[in-house]
């Protein structure tokens, strides 16, 4: 039944017995919910995580590791929890001092700019909240925000909630190529440029990209930077997978390009950095004149983040600073480990006749499923797009959980991309083996 169910039973004093005899009453004659919640109530993660759990599926869906974070960072959290009274009480609202100092020290040398720990950094409850603060602080009614598709799904509702309008520019597979790698998906400079209007406030990029795995090259970022400078735009750069690049691909921070520090908000994640998504520690790094507005949103919503978790992440970054570039660095070891898993998943998909798009970075691999013919005879899903229906079928009939890729596209373009599903390969080898088993048995039956 679980702890929550157990507790709900014990705390039932809050529910008066009168209610049991009450039929449901219309509580308010006017609308209850605020307008800003309209149109943002559906959530692909809530939906598919529930389904995967219900069917006890082998879960290559949601992007979190099913293995543990490295020992040194688990030890750091335990140490923090035993670290005396101050570790359990409020810390500095905009970021625990030890953490902002370690982040500033670590990233200054990468970005090529002296980052002020107190002015240029905001620590948040996950990178998710950093994005929320950025949209709320900087986007207003009527502003346009360019989102490069496929996009991590939360950008769209966040733009909407801030009163903005999302304008989409898709990455497209290069003409005539076999589209075997995420590098084959490119932005058209003309198409991007054509979407900029006097109302455009910001452009959102994600590199390495979720779900494609594309790692934007220097030239591509320079092209985007040139447009930001020309049209005086902000750039929200979601870099949560910054350490996860493969085959020699190099992650480049757009904030390090000339003229970009003053107009870029770089978002990072301890969850993805240290394989500890459940710690929910993230940050935004930008010029102080931008961070100050995000601080206002933060202090009127969340105000502080958990102290002990921040202390542990600080300890992690201090260690990585010393070991940077050496084989003992987790930022070296993790991509090596994931490189092997990426290979493993790709091979097993190819063996069953599927065509994966090899990601240059990140946690995910997308696969074209148009070659598979199945009878999706589920009445309950008949109005949904093909990939949504396919993924639900795959969970229910084969016990394998993935995520439909059209969830990462705008309504305008999702039809073009409804033949792809997304796999997460940041899983124990046993999980990947279990997935391989399912796929092999399935292809043998055909």
């Amino acid at each position: 039944m679980g702890i929550i169910g157990n507790l709900a039973g014990k705390f039932s004093v809050i529910r008066p017995s009168l209610l049991l005899s009450n039929q449901y009453k219309t509580v308010m004659s006017r609308r209850l919910h605020a307008n800003r919640t309209v149109g943002v109530d559906k959530n692909v993660w809530v939906e598919f995580t529930q389904l995967a759990a219900d069917y006890k599926a082998v879960n290559l869906g949601q992007g979190f590791p099913d293995f543990s974070p490295p020992q040194f960072v688990q030890d750091a959290f335990c140490k923090a929890v035993s670290g005396g009274p101050s570790m359990h009480q409020y810390t500095r609202a905009f970021g625990h001092p030890r953490l902002v100092k370690s982040l500033a020290k670590f990233f200054s040398r990468i970005v090529g700019h002296e980052i002020d720990p107190l002015e240029d950094i905001l620590v948040t409850v996950g990178a998710y909240q950093a994005l929320f603060c950025a949209f709320q602080a900087l986007i207003d009614d009527g502003d346009e925000v360019i989102i490069v598709e496929p996009f991590f799904d939360c950008y769209q509702p966040m733009v909407l909630m801030a009163g903005g309008n999302a304008v989409y520019v898709p990455l497209r597979p290069k003409e005539g190529s076999a589209v075997l790698s995420s590098r084959d998906w490119v932005l058209s400079p003309e198409e991007l440029s054509s979407k900029i209007t006097p109302r455009t406030k910001a452009i959102v990029i994600n590199t390495p990209n979720n779900p494609l795995g594309k790692v934007y090259q220097m030239e591509e970022l320079q092209m985007i930077a040139d447009l930001c400078l020309k049209h005086d735009l902000l750039c929200f750069s979601d870099e949560v997978y910054e350490w996860l690049t493969y085959d020699g691909a190099k992650h480049v921070k757009i904030a390090s390009l000339p003229g970009m520090w003053e107009r870029t908000i770089t978002v990072g994640s301890a969850g993805k950095t240290f394989s500890a998504t459940g710690w929910k520690v993230g940050w935004a790094i930008s010029s102080g004149h931008i961070i100050k507005h995000m601080k206002i949103v933060h202090q009127n919503s969340v105000y502080h983040c958990a102290t002990a978790a921040q202390e542990a992440v600080a300890s992690g970054f201090e260690r990585e600073y010393e070991l940077f570039g050496t084989p003992e660095s987790y930022f070296q070891q993790l991509p090596v480990m994931l490189h092997h898993k990426r290979q493993k998943l790709a091979s097993c998909l190819q063996r069953v006749g599927l065509q994966p798009v090899m990601p240059e970075g990140g946690y995910f691999m997308i696969t074209d499923i148009s070659s598979i013919k199945v009878d999706l005879n589920d009445e309950s899903t008949k109005d949904e797009s093909y990939d949504f229906r396919f993924v639900k079928w795959l969970i229910k009939e084969k016990g394998l959980a993935t995520i439909p890729v059209s969830a990462f596209f705008s309504p305008e373009h999702s039809k073009e991309f409804d033949k792809y599903i997304r796999f997460c390969f940041v899983k124990e080898d046993s999980t990947l083996d279990a997935a391989e088993d399912i796929l092999r048995k399935w292809s043998q039956k055909k």
């Binding site: 702890i3 929550i4 157990n6 507790l7 014990k10 705390f11 004093v13 809050i14 529910r15 008066p16 009168l18 209610l19 009453k25 509580v27 308010m28 004659s29 006017r30 209850l32 919910h33 605020a34 307008n35 800003r36 919640t37 943002v40 109530d41 959530n43 993660w45 809530v46 959290f77 101050s86 570790m87 359990h88 009480q89 409020y90 810390t91 409850v125 996950g126 998710y128 909240q129 929320f132 939360c154 509702p157 966040m158 909630m161 459940g278 710690w279 929910k280 009127n300 919503s301 969340v302 105000y303 502080h304 983040c305 958990a306 102290t307 002990a308 978790a309």
Partner: protein
């Protein structure tokens, strides 16, 4: 606030209020409507029970635009624990005007002898229109864990969930696990001396009484709280001359700044918790927090005893 309140709405806030309510109402685009708790005149020993809401005054604040009323019991900073009758009075107005109730009950376990915390959500017809807010930080003395929760009917909570999935999405896993264990353990022990909710309240009651008597000894008038871990003190009797401080600030702001510098004792000015119009009624009060080690309270006591020296 983000899920249920928007432009065109009014939200009633009782003064003094935890300071975040007003900016949160504003950020939701709505209008805060303030109503002060008022002290009953002529009492010698003052307790938080002497502060009350005038029913006619409150009733006058409700109109067709009133979306919600925020209550905080036990109250920060006064420490008032609203009685069942007072809550019923508020509930009657909520039902009459079809208003929601946001009930901030973070100090729910810190209620002292002779008083009882009542959940407004348990009053007839209130479950369907109340969101009750609690805090692991205040419950288990772990403010740095930053875990809290809202409990309410599904038709209200679903809108909070929509906001949640578009802002934070999830809260830290290991901390939730630990709080769950804490709640499970203490719900088994409820009512017994080993229960943390009982033992913490007992410990704090002792500290409350110690601080109150120190303040009375030096001729100040504390407002002895029925709940929570704050105490208001009227500093009028100290007659502190602050005319050298020329900033255009309320008396309590000046007093607290002066006290921190000159006496090395930190407190919070109470006008931080009220709107412009009520400032004059509260500017002789400062707020002291007594959930501190005995040595900290003794150190404060020494400063206060030696006030007249130097």
């Amino acid at each position: 606030m983000q899920g249920l309140v928007e432009e065109g709405d009014e939200v009633i806030i009782i003064e003094p209020f935890f300071d975040c309510y007003v900016p949160m109402v504003r950020m939701a685009g709505a209008k805060p409507v303030l109503i002060p708790l008022r002290p009953k005149p002529g009492k010698k020993t003052v307790t938080s029970a002497d502060w009350y809401l005038d029913p006619e005054e409150l009733s006058g604040k409700f109109n067709s635009k009133t979306k919600a009323i925020i209550i905080n019991t036990p109250n920060n900073p006064i420490g008032k624990v609203f009685t069942r009758d007072e809550l019923q009075m508020i509930a009657d107005l909520c039902i009459k005007h079809d208003t929601l109730c946001f009930s901030d009950e973070v100090y729910e376990w810190l209620v002292y002898k002779g008083h009882q915390h009542v959940k407004i959500a348990t009053l007839p017809d209130m479950w369907d229109r109340t969101i009750t807010i609690s805090s692991a930080g205040k419950t288990f003395s772990v403010t740095g864990w930053k875990l809290g929760w809202s409990i309410g009917p599904e038709h209200l909570i679903k809108h909070l969930q929509t906001v949640m999935q578009n802002t934070l999405y999830t809260c830290p896993t290991p901390l939730q696990e630990a709080v769950a264990q804490g709640l499970l353990l203490n719900s088994e022990l409820m009512g017994q001396p080993e229960c943390y909710f009982t033992s913490l309240a007992e410990e704090l009651e002792g500290k409350r009484d110690r601080l109150a008597s120190i303040l009375q000894e030096v001729g100040m008038t504390p407002v002895v709280p029925e709940g929570g871990y704050f105490m208001l003190v009227d500093v009028t009797s100290l007659n502190q001359d602050l005319s050298h401080m020329v900033d255009d600030e309320a008396y309590d702001y000046k007093f607290v700044k002066w006290m921190i510098k000159e006496k090395k004792l930190a407190a919070i000015p109470v006008t931080a918790f009220v709107g412009e119009e009520s400032k004059k009624h509260f500017e002789k009060y400062i707020r002291l927090c007594f959930i501190k080690k005995a040595s900290t309270l003794e150190a404060a006591g020494n400063i206060l005893k030696n006030w007249r020296n130097i």
